[in-house]
Amino acid sequence: MKLLSLKVEHFRCVRQAALEFGPGLNVLHGPNDLGKSSLAAAIRAVLLLQASSREHEEFVNWNGTGVPYVELAFESEPQRIWRVRKTFGSAAQSFLDESRDGVDFHVEAKGRDVDGRLSDILQWGLAPPGGKGRPKGLPMTFLSTALLAEQDRVAAIFDQALSKDSDESGKKRLIAALQAVAEDPLYKLVLARVQERFDEAFTSNGGRRRGKNSPWVQVNEQIRQKEEYERQCSEQLQKTAAIEIELQESHRRQLERQASVETAEGIVQQMEAFYRAGRQRDEILGRLKESKARLAEISSVLQDLAQAEERRHAILLQVDDLGKRAEAARKLAAGAAQRAQAAKDEVARQQSEDRIRESLLKRTSIEKRRAELEAEQARNATALDRIQAVETAAARVRAIEKESQELTQSVKDLEERHSQSAQALSAAGERERGLRAVAQLIRCRAARESLEKTEKGLAQVNVWREEAARRRAAAVAMETALVAVALPSAALLADLRQLDQQLQIARARLDVGLHVSIRPKGGLSVTLQSDGEEPAQHDLADFPIEATASREIVIEIEDVAEITLSGGAQIARDEVERLQKRWLDEVEPALERANAVTLDHLGRMVAEAAQRSQEVQEARRAAGQLEQRAADQPDWAGQQRHRQQELASAEAALGQADRAVTEKLARELRVADLGAAEKRLETLRVETGKLVEASRKLDSELAAANALSVEKQKALAASREALLAAQSGVEGDWEVVLPRVTGRKTAIQAELIVVQKEMEALTTGTNQALTAAKKALEIAERARVAAESESAKAADELRAAERRVATSDGELAMRREAAAKLDIGAARATVEQVEGELRLVPEPQQRVTEEMLAEARAHVQSARDELRRIDDEIQAKRGALQHVGGEVAKQKADAAQEALKAAREREHFLETDYAAWDLLRTTLLDAEREEGVHLGRALGDPIARRFGELTDRRYGAIALGPDLETHAITAAGDARPVSSLSVGTRDQLSTIFRLSLAEQLQSTVMLDDQLTQSDAERMLWLRDLIRELAATIQILVFTCRPTDYLLPAEMKPTKKSEQNKPSVRSIHLAQVIERSATAQASATK
C-alpha cells in the first residue's frame, strides 16, 4: 500500500491543504502548529473513522466555518488505485472511488459501505461497520497503531496485540507476509509441486475439476461406460440365468412327470392284468357255475327219478296197505253190520223173554271183546312207539346229513382258498427273492462304482505324485546343469560390465587422433598397424606414406625397430593399462570359466541361468503343490480296500443269481437304487406277512372244519345205525305203516268205547238193556255207518293210491326217459376241467373294474398331456435361451464385471492418490501456518538485530508473543519490561518495531515526530535505517526537524519533475497547508 495524495478542507486548523506523496521517504516538515498533526489525523480519520461518527466534532474547523472534508488517494496493489472522500459532520458523506490509472475514478462504494470496503482493502484487523466487535469512535488496531501511530502514543505499539483486534484480517495479513519470509526454499518447491498435482484434480476451492482433462472426468466416463456395458451384460446374464433355472425346473418337472407317466402306465398295465385275470376268472367261474348247475340239474333229475322210484314203491306199498285197510274196513263194516244186526236182534231179543241169558252171554262176549281190543291197543301202541322212534331217528339222520353236506362244501371252499393263499405266498416269496437279488445287484453296482471312483482317485494321486517326482527330477537336472556351469553372480557380472565399460571409456580417452607421415630417404620396408587393425606392409622408395589412427600406430621398420605411437596422457594410458590388467584378471577368467565369448554372451548366460533357476524354483513349487494336492486327497488306497471288501461282500451276497435275469427284473420293476429296492422289499414283506397270517388263519379254519366234518360223519353213522335199529322193530316201511297203525289206534279206541258202553248198558238192567240194546243198536248202527264210511273211504283211498301209482308210473317213465338222456360223468368231468382252469387263474391281488381301469387310463393320459406340455415349455425355453445367449452371455458378463472391477479399482486408486496429494498439501499448509502463527518468532529477530545495532549490542532479544504482544527485552542477560527503557530508547525500539512491520507488509508507515527524544548519534543511525527502508516501502515522516531525516541537499522542496523518483521527497508543509483564519491569527499571536 502506498499513499498517493491527500486533500484536506476545513479540518481542525487546516482550512485547505493538498499534497502528493512519493513512493519512498516523504518528509513533511514545518514549524510547530502548522497543522502537521492535523494532516496525520486527517489520514487516520479518512481511513478509519466513519463520516457520521460523533468523533468528527474534534475535526471541526477551529473558526467554525466549513465542513471537514478529507480526500485520500492510495494504491493497494499495482494499478489498483482507490480514492476515499469523506465529509464529516451532520451532513456526513463517504465515497470510495476506484481507478486503474489514478485519473479516471468511478464510485465503488458510498456511505457506510465505504468503511466496509476499506476494512477489506486495508486488512488492518478492523471489523466492517455493523460487524461484531468494531469499536466506537476512531478505532485503532494493532496495525493501524503500528502504521499510523499518533504523535503522543509513540510507544502504544507495546500495549497492542493482534489478539485485541476486532477481526482476524490483520493477523492473517501478517501471517501471510511473515510466512513468505519464513518459508524454506525446499518447502516452497515441495509445496509448489504438490500444488501442481493438487491442481490436476481439484479446483482452488477444493472441488473436483470438471474439465475434459480432469482425471475424474476421464475415470468417471470409463466407469460409466463400463457400468453401462456391465448392466447390459448382467441383464442378459440374468435372463440367461432365469431361463436356465426355469429350464432346470422344467427338466426336473419333466423327469418327475416322466416317472409319473411311467408309474401310471405301470399301474394301468398291472390293473389291465388284474382286470384280464379277473375277467378270465369270472368267465371260468361262470362256466364252472354253469357246469356245476348242469351237474346239479342232472343229479337232481336222477335224484328226482330215484325219489319217484321210491315214491312209486311207497305208493305201491301204500296201495297194498290201503288194499289191506280197505279189506279190513270192509271186514269191519261187515262186522259192524253184523253187530248192528246183532244189536237189532238184541233189541228184539230184549224185547223177548230170554234176555237174561242173553245178557250174560252178552257180557261175556263184551268182556272178551274188550280184552281183545285192549291187547290189540297195547300192541298197536308199541308199534306206534317204534315207528315214532324211527321217525325221530330219520329226522336226525337228515339233519346231520344236511349239516355234513354244508360242512363238506365249507371245507372245499376253505381248501380252495388255502390253495390260493399258498400260491400267493409262493409268488410273494419268489418276488422277495428277486428283489433281494436286485438289491444285492444294486449294492454290487454301487460298490463297483465306489471302487472305480477310489481307483480313479488313487490313479489321479499317483499321476500327481509321478508328475511331482518328474518335476523334482527335472529341477534337480536343471540345477545340476546350472551348477556345472560356473557363472558369476549378477553383482559380479555388473562389476565386470562396469569394468568393461570403464575400459572402453579409458580407451576412448586415448582416442586423441594420430597422424604419421614417413618420408623415406632410401628403400625401406615398413609395416604399419593402426589401432590394432591388420598390419599393412609398405615398400617405400621415393614416395612418402601417411597413416592415421585414433589412439595407436605401430611402425615396424624391417628388422630394425618397432615404433609405437600412443595417444593420450600418461595417466590415461596408465588407467587403460590398469583396467586392461584388471580385465585380464577378472573378466577373462570369468569368461573362460563360463565358456563365454563376450560379456554380453556371459550376460545372456547369466540371465538364462536366472531363468533356469526360476524354472527350478517353479518346478519345485509345482512339485510341492502337486505333492500337497496328493497329500490333501483322502486315503484312496484305504478307501479302495474298503470298497473292494464291500464289493466282494456284495458279490458274495449276490451269489449265483442270474445277473441278466436280475438286471431284467430290476428294469421291469423299475428299481434303480437301493432305497427303492429296500422300499419294495419292505412292502413285499408286509404283504407276505399278511398272506402268511391269512394262510395261517385258513389252516386253522380248515383244520376245524375237517375236525367238525369227521365228527359229523361219526354222528351221521351213529344216527344211521340208530335208524336201522329203530327200523328193525318196525315191519315194513315205517312211513307206510305209520298211518295204518294210527288209524287202527283210533278204531280200537272207538271200539273200546263201544264195548264199554255195551258193558255199562248190560250192567244197568233190562230196560236199560233194552235201552242199551237200542243204544247199542244205535251205536252199532253208527259204527256200522262209520265202518262202512271208513271202508268206503279206504276204498277211495285205495283207488286214489292206485291212481297215483298210475300217475307215478307215467311220471317215472318220463323221468326214466329223460334220465337216460343225461350224462352225469361228462358233467362231472366238465366241472373238474373247469375247476382245473380256475386253479390256473388265481384270484388277482386286486379286483379291477372297468371304471377303475378307465380312471387309471385317464390318469395316464392326463400325465402324458402334462408331459407334452412340459416338453413344449422346455422347447420354448430353449428357444428363449438361444435368444439371450447362454454361455456367451456368461462370458461377456464375467468380462464386463472384471472390467468394471478394474475400472473401480483404478478409480479407487486415483481417489486415494489424489486424496493423498490433497492431504499432503493441506498438511504442508497447516504445518507451515502453525509454524508461522508464532509471529513473534518471525519478527523478533530482525527487530532485535536492528535494535542491537542501534544500541551497540546493549540489548538482546525482544520477546514477542504469538500475536506480537511485547513481553520483555533482554538487557544485561535478563528479561526486562519495555517500560523500564528510557523514553527515547523506547521510542527508538517502537520505531524499529513499526518500520520492521511495515517492511514485512510492504506498507506505508507514518512517523509523526516520534524520535524527538533521540540523541544525534542514534538519530543518525535511525535516519540511515529509514532511508534504507524507503527504498522498498513508503514512509511518511511528520517532523519539525527535517534535518534529522534529510540531507542538506534534500531540504528544498522536491520539484514536480523529480516527484516520480522513489527515494526521498521533502514537502514543506507551510507551502501546502492553508490554515484557517482563526488559526492563523492564533499562530500569528
Partner: protein, 384 residues
C-alpha cells in the same frame, strides 16, 4: 513324424478355432487393449502361414472366429485381406459358425453380407446342417453350424454315420462342449464318443480355449484351443493342430504347433526381492497380471514404484512387460519406518512427515500413508 510316415500320409489338415476376432479386453488400458485385439489378427496370419509351410490340404476353423455374430467392419475386412493375400486354389478353408458367431440372418455369414460376398471361392462357410465336402477321393468333411448363442442340441449327432462300405477318411467339424465338462448342458453339448458313434476318423471341435485331445486314438476329438489366449487362467492356449491322416485307416497323427505371441502370466509378488527378480525376466511378449502383497517402507516403496514404471513404461519409454495389469491393493506403506527421509529436512517438512506418519498408523490411514510416500518422492525430486 518319421519319414516313412510322411510318405504314407493321405491328407494333411490344419485345425484351428476360437479366434474371437473383435473381442474386447475392457479390463485393460486402452493402449494395452489395442495390442491384444491386434494380436488376434496377427495370430490368424501366423496360422495361415503355418498352413502354407506344412502345405496342408485344408484348413478347418471350428467356430467362434468372431467374438460376435456381427462384428464391426474392421475385423471382417482384415480377415478378408488375410485371405486375399493368399491364393489357395487347392487348399480350401472351412469356416464354421460357433456359438459366439452363430449363423443368423444378421451375421457375417448371411449370404448378402459383404464379408460373405467378399470371401474367395476357396473359403467355404459351413452354412447347413448336412454340409459335406469331398476333400479328396479318400477323404470327406462333414459339418454342422451353430445357429444360436446357446443350444442343447448335440451338433455332432447331425453328422451322418459311416456306411459299412465307406473306407474314406471322414472328418467332422462342429462347435460345442463335450459332456465331460460339467455345467455346460446349454452350450451345444457333444457326446464324448461322438466321433466313434458317427464313424469319424477325426472330430474337429471348437469352443474350449485349451488344446485338448479326447480319446480314443483311433478317432480322436480335438480342441485346438484359441490361437491367442483370451483371459488369465487359460491353460494350454496359443496352438493349432496340424493333423496327418495316414493311409490304410491308421489313426491320425496330431501335432500341436504354437502360433501365439502373448504369454499370459499371473504373478503374485510378496516381497520386493520377488518383484526385482520378476523385473529381470524377459516379459516383452508377456501379458502380466501382477498382484502386489507387501508392506514396504518409503525407500522400498520408491523402488517398487520405479520398478512398476520400468515394467509398465511411461510416455517416453516402453515398459519391460508387454502388457501390465496391476493390482496394488495389497501394497502397503509401513509408516513406522521413516528412515528414508533426510535428517536435514526443514523442520516444517519434518513436522509434515510426523503428522502424516501419525495419521498413517491408523488402519484407515491409507491416504495418509500414500501422502507420506508422495512427500518422500516429491522431496527427493525437489532436492537439487
Amino acid at each position: 513324424m518319421r519319414p516313412e510316415e510322411a510318405q504314407e500320409v493321405a491328407l494333411k489338415i490344419l485345425h484351428t478355432a476360437d479366434w474371437h476376432l473383435g473381442r474386447g479386453f475392457p479390463s485393460f488400458a486402452e493402449e494395452d487393449e489395442i495390442k491384444l485385439t491386434r494380436a488376434r489378427i496377427d495370430a490368424v496370419d501366423r496360422l495361415l502361414g503355418l498352413a502354407e509351410s506344412f502345405a496342408v490340404n485344408a484348413v478347418l476353423c471350428a467356430g467362434d472366429l468372431f467374438d460376435d455374430p456381427a462384428p464391426t467392419e474392421i475385423w471382417w475386412r482384415e480377415l478378408l485381406r488375410l485371405f486375399e493375400r493368399r491364393n489357395w486354389r487347392d487348399r480350401p478353408v472351412f469356416l464354421l459358425p460357433g456359438n459366439h458367431d452363430p449363423l443368423q440372418p444378421e451375421s457375417v455369414w448371411a449370404e448378402g453380407h459383404p464379408f460373405r460376398r467378399g470371401l474367395p471361392a476357396w473359403v467355404h462357410v459351413v452354412d447347413r446342417d448336412n454340409f459335406e465336402f469331398p476333400l479328396s477321393e479318400e477323404a470327406v468333411l462333414y459339418g454342422a453350424p451353430c445357429r444360436s448363442q446357446a443350444g442343447a442340441d448335440d451338433l455332432a449327432s447331425r453328422l451322418p454315420r459311416r456306411e459299412p462300405d465307406d473306407r474314406r477318411i471322414r472328418i467332422g467339424l462342429v462347435h460345442g462342449q463335450t459332456f465331460d465338462v460339467a455345467g455346460h448342458q446349454t452350450n451345444f453339448p457333444i457326446a464324448l464318443d461322438a466321433a466313434e458313434q458317427r464313424g469319424l476318423s477325426y472330430l474337429a471341435i471348437g469352443d474350449t480355449h485349451a488344446f485338448r485331445e479326447l480319446p480314443p486314438k483311433a478317432c480322436p476329438a480335438v480342441y485346438p484351443g484359441a490361437p491367442e489366449t483370451t483371459t488369465f487362467g487359460e491353460k494350454d492356449t496359443g496352438f493349432v493342430a496340424v493333423v496327418f491322416f495316414p493311409r490304410q485307416g491308421r489313426p491320425p497323427i496330431i501335432q500341436k504347433h504354437p502360433v501365439s505371441r502373448w504369454r499370459w502370466r499371473d504373478e503374485h509378488c510378496r516381497g520386493i526381492e520377488e518383484l526385482e527378480a520378476l523385473c529381470k525376466q524377459d516379459l516383452k511378449e508377456c501379458v502380466l497380471r501382477l498382484t502386489l502383497t507387501m508392506e514396504v517402507n518409503v525407500t522400498q516403496m520408491d523402488r517398487v514404484e520405479a520398478i512398476l514404471v520400468e515394467l509398465k513404461g511411461n510416455d517416453a519409454t516402453h515398459g519391460k512387460a508387454g502388457v501390465l495389469l496391476l493390482d496394488r491393493t495389497g501394497l502397503e506403506l509401513n509408516t513406522a519406518d521413516t528412515g528414508g527421509f533426510d535428517a536435514n529436512l526443514p523442520d516444517v517438512l519434518k513436522s509434515v512427515a510426523a503428522r502424516l506418519q501419525a495419521q498413517g498408523q491408523a488402519p484407515e490411514g491409507v491416504i495418509a500413508r500414500r501422502a507420506l510416500y508422495h512427500l518422500y518422492r516429491t522431496v527427493k525430486e525437489a532436492r537439487p
